[in-house]
């Protein structure tokens, strides 16, 4: 089992691939640019629909993947394509020869400041879904003022389904995340009025619709169908949100103590850079292009390079884990085929 397997990205996809390959008797190499494993999921607090702690999911994966060769704080400097293998040069000076690369480079969160009209980074009381999760985790954010949370708003589709934001795709998980976060906030501030400004509610997954009904019936969260047009700041520092309530066909305006922007999932520029190094095609949505989007979503057009997780498009945690398992199996079969 001397075969080098390079997994690029130490998020849940990369970790799960590593775990499966370790179980199959391989010793994969995981390369992570950040100083810790777990990727975006590690920033999250609770995961829908069962509200299990993200910490547990990530912690479990990290523990089980600990036997792998893991390089933290490491980027890919360049990749050379050899005859039937790749030479990968790492930023720490190590070079690896491999025939197998698993791309688990994940996604990037849309920079909410780019939607200037929402005032992220300009108005005091505007935060993103990620900031809110951070607050759930640490309780540390001056934007959440425990004594004055009378009205909270969630803006869906920030940087998703928005050609002006250069991302016409649906980020898939924000609807359910918004509802999850709205419920969590309502649990902490039962007296607060919680609004969700949405265009469509895409409750596609298992138990998502239950979540939605709960949010409406049990938590009284108000859903307003209409994209927020602009946000401004009040003299007392609260934010005023304007939208059209498309269901009543009238403009709607509300003053909020906190506005949470559901930043969407966009392709990770690091994936694109890597893809260029090994001449992998990029799909029209900016994510890595699979052989096809039905049956071979985890296979790249190049032999020996596999995908898992959100590098090919927005995915939920269970979807990512499933893909990672499938990718590990593909790697295993690929190695067996080489022999």
């Amino acid at each position: 089992m001397k075969e080098n397997i390079v997994i690029i990205g130490g998020g849940i996809a990369g970790l799960e691939v590593a775990v499966q390959l370790l179980d199959l008797g391989y010793k994969p190499i995981v390369i992570e640019k950040r100083d810790r494993l777990g990727g975006h999921v590690a920033d999250w607090n609770l995961l829908f629909p069962d509200m299990i702690p993200a910490r547990d999911v990530v912690g479990n994966l990290i523990a089980r993947a600990s036997e792998a060769n893991i390089f933290l704080n490491t980027e890919i400097s360049f990749v050379n394509k050899l005859k039937d293998s790749y030479n990968i040069m790492l930023s720490n000076g190590i070079s690896i020869n491999t025939r197998i690369i698993v791309m688990t480079t994940g996604f990037a969160l849309f920079d909410a400041a780019k939607k200037e009209e929402y005032g992220y980074g300009v108005y005091d009381q505007v935060m993103t879904n990620k900031d809110l999760e951070h607050w759930f985790n640490t309780g540390d954010d001056k934007r959440v003022n425990d004594s004055a949370m009378n009205a909270v708003g969630f803006v869906h589709c920030v940087g998703s389904r928005d050609e002006k934001a250069r991302n016409p795709q649906c980020s898939k998980v924000c609807c359910i995340t918004a509802i999850k976060q709205a419920i969590e906030l309502k649990q902490r501030f039962p007296e607060a009025m919680v609004y969700c400004f949405y265009m469509d509610l895409r409750m596609f997954g298992k138990k998502y619709e239950d979540f939605y009904i709960n949010a409406q019936r049990d938590y009284g969260i108000r859903f307003i169908r209409g994209r927020v047009s602009e946000v401004s700041e009040n003299i007392d520092g609260r934010v005023i949100v304007k939208a059209e309530d498309t269901l009543s066909g009238k403009p709607v305006k509300v003053t909020l103590d906190l506005l949470v922007l559901m930043a969407g999932i966009i392709c990770n520029t690091d994936s694109t850079r890597l893809a260029n190094m090994v001449s992998l095609p990029i799909d029209s949505d900016g994510f890595l292009k699979s052989r096809d989007n039905v049956a071979e979503i985890i296979e790249s057009p190049r032999d020996g390079i596999f995908y898992a997780g959100a590098c090919t498009g927005p995915k939920t945690v269970p979807e990512t884990l499933a893909e990672a398992r499938a990718a590990a199996l593909k790697v295993h079969l690929f190695i067996k085929g080489l022999k």
Partner: protein, 356 residues
């Protein structure tokens, strides 16, 4: 409000503005509204800053109002604009500066249309040729006059006689800036600071010592809106918009409003009188209104020009309280004297809004 957040956005929206040699076109309506403004622009640029600004009496309207009122088709307005460009070409200029925001938006929109649809440009060239045997080059740079004052703001500050500081309290003056809708809302990259937080007027205010007020309805239209004001039945709608803005800015107690569009200062100025008459509400201190200035008027004041020479007597809302705060000296008896030093008839004073 996080100032650094705005700075980051401003940094993203900086446009290239050549320093000199501009072909200047006037606005149709400003001559009537605040005639001192355009005069002072050329005065400051030419006489104070010694820049080359060319102007020709042969230029016409840009057709913008008619276009936005749906009375002429786009081809017509494009041909009119093409003729303006031909005047610039004839005069040997490449930089085109418009005094009017509607015109500025109009020029940008047309140039962008031509860029996207070159066949339209070709057709317009043919039409211009057929109409008046003229040819043109497209301008290299198109700017709004406020862009230039913004560019020269630090130079003006260095020659300033007055700073935007309240002489009585020593505090910076609180200034509301109001940007004409067509400045950058259509093409954010064509305006200094973009569409959401335009910097063009903020830059002047900051440079000259004032404090910018950001209030909830900052982005809202002044209420002019051609189709709204020009149709009498819609005028209530026009004033309602202005009312909304004043209601929103009132808690901040601004000292004055700075604008860069022909319609905005006029309507924000005059509607204060109408609001006072119909609603009994005034927004300034002691029953006065909030003075609304154009950037040229403000630049002139800062540079120490006599307020009556720059046409401030044409404002409905009395500017005197502001002049007092700035420390600008003025002779009230000179206010309504003509160029020939003869007393013009004094306007009737309104019932509710306090004026001087």
């Amino acid at each position: 409000m996080i100032y650094q957040g705005k700075q980051k956005i401003w940094a993203d929206y900086q446009k290239e503005i050549p320093d000199n040699h501009w072909f200047y076109v006037r606005s149709c309506i400003r001559q009537n509204f605040f005639p001192g403004a355009e005069k002072m622009f050329l005065e400051i640029c030419r006489e104070v800053l010694k820049k080359d600004f060319y102007e020709t009496e042969y230029h016409t309207t840009c057709g913008g109002i008619a276009y936005h009122c749906d009375t002429i088709p786009q081809e017509t307005v494009m041909t009119i604009v093409a003729r303006q460009f031909s005047l610039m070409t004839e005069a040997g200029y490449e930089n085109y500066v418009a005094s009017c925001i509607t015109s500025f938006g109009n020029y940008i929109e047309i140039l962008e249309t031509w860029r996207e649809f070159p066949e339209v440009e070709t057709r317009i060239r043919e039409m211009l040729w057929k109409a008046c045997r003229r040819e043109f080059n497209k301008p290299k740079y198109v700017a709004h006059a406020s862009d230039l004052i913004y560019k020269y703001r630090n130079e003006i500050a260095s020659r300033a006689k007055f700073r935007l500081v309240n002489r009585f309290t020593g505090e910076p003056l609180r200034v509301v800036e109001h940007i004409g809708c067509h400045y950058s809302k259509m093409f954010p990259s064509k305006g200094v600071g973009g569409a959401e937080y335009p910097y063009v007027l903020c830059g002047m205010i900051e440079s000259w010592g004032g404090n910018v007020i950001d209030y909830p309805e900052r982005r809202h239209c002044c209420g002019y809106g051609f189709r709204q004001y020009h149709v009498k039945a819609n005028r209530g709608y026009s004033v309602s918009n202005t009312y909304k803005k004043f209601e929103s800015m009132a808690p901040y107690h601004p000292d004055f409003i700075l604008t860069n569009c022909p319609g905005c200062p006029y309507f924000m100025d005059r509607w204060q009188y109408v609001i006072a008459e119909t609603e009994g509400k005034t927004y300034g201190e002691n029953g006065y209104g909030i003075p609304v200035l154009t950037y040229e008027e403000l630049a002139s004041l800062v540079l120490g020009y006599n307020p009556w020479d720059i046409g401030l007597q044409l404002h409905q809302v009395a500017v005197e309280p502001l002049l007092d705060k700035l420390g600008v000296e003025y002779d009230p008896s000179e206010k309504y004297k003509g160029l020939n030093e003869k007393e013009l008839s004094r306007p009737e004073l309104p019932g509710v809004l306090r004026c001087c």
